[in-house]
Symmetry: C2
Subunit: 569 residues, 2 copies
């Protein structure tokens, strides 16, 4: 057996801002296989890296090359790994989105991801094939700034926490339920995990042998702090379903980074974290140091049925869990509170990346609706519910390989607009929709606006939060609003001065969100709701950007579907 | 949605024995996906065909072409289908063994199996990738004799039954348990199924909502009969683990066919059926016709913990389940009884296929042992525990494609012999063994003898039954014996006159079994224990037969591993 190892293998010269610094290669060997884990005291199968759950964290310096050798040891399942937030400039085939950037890595096969980290910040990685992220296939990815760079804030130490919701049903049961007629909802999560640890009340479980509250694996995560010192807490959510609200009992904190970009410092007593987002917050350990405190998070945006996810903020020389109650979050459906919080994030003054000096060259309006296809519950954009093909779109577009539509799915280009006058406040009048694998082709060097438009689901008066994540780009969030976006009026209300750059943005119930980005990174990029089940049910689109400038794609990213026998020239 | 359909698509002229008959193409479209099923009243996910579990039965006439379009709709798992008992003469790539005859069919991809049925008889099909058969991925395959052929027995009607053992744990949990350190045994089956139906005692189940004894799906299978008439009962076992003993309450029956070959009629009150075997038995409905009777089977070869698997033999004009107790099988560990039964099967006089007029050109002695590799429990042959490569062996050998050994596995040719003097009565003195993907190369037109030698497992005094199944061939079973096979003595005791031709043969505890076949079918053929977990744990070998005469392999069977970019010339 080869052992997992971190090889600092090579030093490569890199020209930085004002002086020469060394960029290195950080190299990992990751064996992917199923394993047993009991993150909330209940044992089930998870997808592990080198036997670990959650998977290992990657740490690199901006400009470093990250090289991860993936060896798939699952018996019948292929895998890919998406490096969430990495821009993959010039390396779109390393994005790790199954059937978009590459063919999945077959059992007993191997693939080496190789990409350069760009902006320093807090990121993560996760499976991006079927619902493998929901099987626990994730970890953090932190990019430190180069040595000669001074961040606009100071701290004495840091802690990393990944938030997640967790079900006892297997990934296959979960996804089968989503595709069943009638629909079988997996329900609210059994547990909320911090750093892969939570705690299920074993007495709730029939049978019970699988639940054991004394397991080492479900001891809550502990973050030691020293009184008086300031800490950076790196928070990310890989949630399958929920929006979260995180609280550090007895401590306010100041948000300083979001999705790899510095934001104007905002001090808060609680923070909303949507699936796909990451934040750095600073807090000072200035509470009564004779006791410990809860770090906790609750579900928002859905009537919460799950106990607060907890970790322990441990002051030096004390131990044990706090005796205080778990932190309580704002009312789950106080969306006005959430929107107001989201609006607080603005690009940090010294780091504003100015918008292009022109308006959008293209506007894509995406109506988010819940629909049905042959009785199956689906999500759709402009009435098209996305399904992957068996062929990676990147290689197919680069080499002009014809991808046959299959199973009656449409391969037509989906529309940029939805029907004028669509009543977003009511369930869709014609719920039946079509499935499609078509892509949006975007020309290079264009300013693209995406207007995400939320609507009522199939259930009257219900509209859900959807955190939208874009691959290959950060986008400016120009604004959020209620109701139907009105271009002639609402464009004037947007923030063109210091909008935050993000890779994930929430779309609030019955509201709209406007995003802008420049097509400066040729590639084929998924843009989708980061809720695992929603994307699996069709809530996403594919942007094929600068198809004429796509780089050659390495041969080993092809070999499936219609690329089965294509070799890179 | 395309609908499943049976298309009798074309009529092809076929020259038969004495007259011209028409051979047709029987064509199916099979969509493979997970589905919910509750075969024993407890719901779980299964692998289904067109939503059905068990999968559909195929019926054809000898000489027909069977064409099955497989469309894989599972989200992250590939599939193959093995046509168990089909000789695949000239079409070794259609054998459906993952990474031996073909690359697995990826999600959203398709593949069409296309082969000619040869000997009339009772067969079945099943998944042959990972442990997908254990997920319920199986069905029957019946080949009728040509119209102008008269079988050597008569009957008025027929019933088909497939026997299986069934667990509530998912396939992934089962296989993960097998590979865990410490080993996690899935335990004895929860239920025994006849035609995908059984009955679990819901009161045994904690929680219980998944168990519902009133489900339509777990009503026992019913076989209507008319008093006084004679029936052909086609029995097959796709068991994951158990050896079975089948009884028709109140009726003796006569075995007339085994694995597609007529046998000398043998009348029995019960029949042993090993995983991978199939039989036709005749019985006359001559019992008291005022009541119904049980068809039932029990586990043999392992101390049974599972209730008898039951179906109802229903006499016309009566209904309801018998009030009599379930049939009782012989003592589970009365191996002498089992060996005696196995010896009763002899080729039917008019249909004896004579042995070649010479002794073996090659003898391969295969010692069956239980071992460990890095702490994991494994099975091995001559101290090599088989692991598949990521490359189909057939294409690799045909096109001389180098397959790199991976994960430290050996690619060396495994040995034809085991160590002389090995004490089969004791646990292996050196349990640690190696994993290998090497193949046995067999020259063409040779008489090959396989001497299967059983031994003690890692547990003192324990030796298990292993039903060995060969792809691409029927073999003669020359004999069974106790202890260590002694070539100079035991060769004289074998049956060279009328040994039965079979594709599966049991190897009894602490005993040996001798098989013979002629290498007249160029191909690459797995030979393995048909117990799903045993093969998954390494209990198999690969025969590469007449490598110099391998036919060209269709391009669409390649495309994975080292065949990733090979096209057939």
């Amino acid at each position: 057996m080869r052992k997992p190892q971190l090889l600092v293998a090579a030093l490569v010269l890199l020209a930085a801002t004002s002086s020469l610094v060394y960029a290195k290669v950080v190299e990992y060997e990751w064996v992917v296989d199923y394993a047993w884990a009991a993150p909330d005291c209940v044992e089930k199968q998870v997808i592990s890296i080198n036997g670990e759950f959650p998977g290992p964290n990657i740490r690199s310096v901006a400009g470093d090359t990250v090289r991860v050798h993936v060896i798939n040891r699952m018996p019948t399942e292929a895998v890919v790994i998406h490096w969430h937030g990495m821009l993959q400039t010039g390396t779109p085939w390393e994005d790790g989105a199954a059937y978009v950037s590459q063919c999945p890595i077959d059992p007993e096969d191997e693939y080496t991801y190789d990409f350069v980290t760009e902006n320093a910040g807090t990121y993560f990685w996760h499976g991006h094939y079927g619902m493998q992220r929901a099987a626990g296939f994730y970890g953090q990815l932190i990019v430190d700034p180069p040595e000669n760079f001074t961040e606009p804030f100071k701290y004495d130490g840091e802690h990393s926490i990944v938030l997640n919701d967790w079900w006892h049903a297997s990934m296959i049961d979960q996804q089968l339920g989503l595709f069943s007629v009638p629909f079988r909802w997996v329900g609210e999560p059994q547990s909320l995990l911090i750093e892969g640890r939570g705690r299920y009340n074993c007495s709730l479980m029939a049978g019970g042998s699988a639940c054991n509250a004394t397991r080492e694996s479900c001891k809550l995560h502990v973050m030691p702090v020293e009184a008086g010192k300031t800490y950076r807490l790196r928070i990310a959510s890989v949630a399958s379903l929920g929006s979260f609200n995180f609280i550090l009992e007895g401590h306010n904190f100041t948000v300083v980074e979001a999705d790899g970009h510095y934001v104007e410092p905002v001090t808060m007593s609680d923070i909303d974290v949507y699936s796909g987002e990451s934040y750095s917050v600073l807090f000072t350990a200035n509470a009564d140091c004779s006791r410990n405190y809860w770090a906790g998070f609750n579900v928002r945006g859905r009537d919460p049925k799950t106990l607060t996810g907890l970790a322990v903020l441990q002051y030096v020389n004390t131990s044990g869990e706090p005796s205080t109650p778990a932190p309580v979050s704002p009312r789950w459906n106080d969306y006005a509170y959430s929107v107001a919080k989201a609006r607080q994030y603005l690009a940090r003054k010294e780091f504003i990346v100015p918008l292009p000096q022109r308006g959008p060259d293209r506007q894509i309006f995406l109506l988010n609706t819940q629909n049905r296809v042959n009785g199956r519950l689906k999500w759709a954009l402009n009435n098209v519910s996305f399904v992957p093909t068996a062929t990676p779109a990147l290689a197919a577009l680069k080499y002009n390989i014809t991808v046959e539509a299959h199973g009656g799915h449409s391969s037509a280009t989906p529309p940029d607009y939805f029907q004028e006058g669509y009543d977003i406040m009511k369930p869709p009048p014609y719920p039946e929709t079509v499935q499609g694998s078509g892509v949006y082709e975007l020309k290079g060097d264009q300013v693209v606006d995406i207007i995400l438009q939320n609507a009522c689901s199939l259930t009257a008066n219900v509209s859900e939060v959807h955190p939208w994540h874009l691959h290959g780009h950060d986008f400016w969030i120009l604004g959020y609003g209620d109701g139907v976006f009105n271009a002639s009026k609402d464009y004037a209300s947007l923030n063109y001065y210091n909008p935050p750059l993000r890779n994930t943005a929430p779309l609030f119930p019955f509201g709209w969100t406007v995003l802008r980005f420049v097509t400066d990174n040729p590639g084929v990029w998924p843009f989708h709701c980061h809720i695992e089940s929603h994307f699996h049910m069709g809530m996403g689109v594919i942007f094929a950007e600068s198809v004429d400038k796509l780089p050659d794609v390495p041969t080993d990213t092809m070999g499936c579907g219609a690329t089965k026998f294509y070799r890179s020239p």
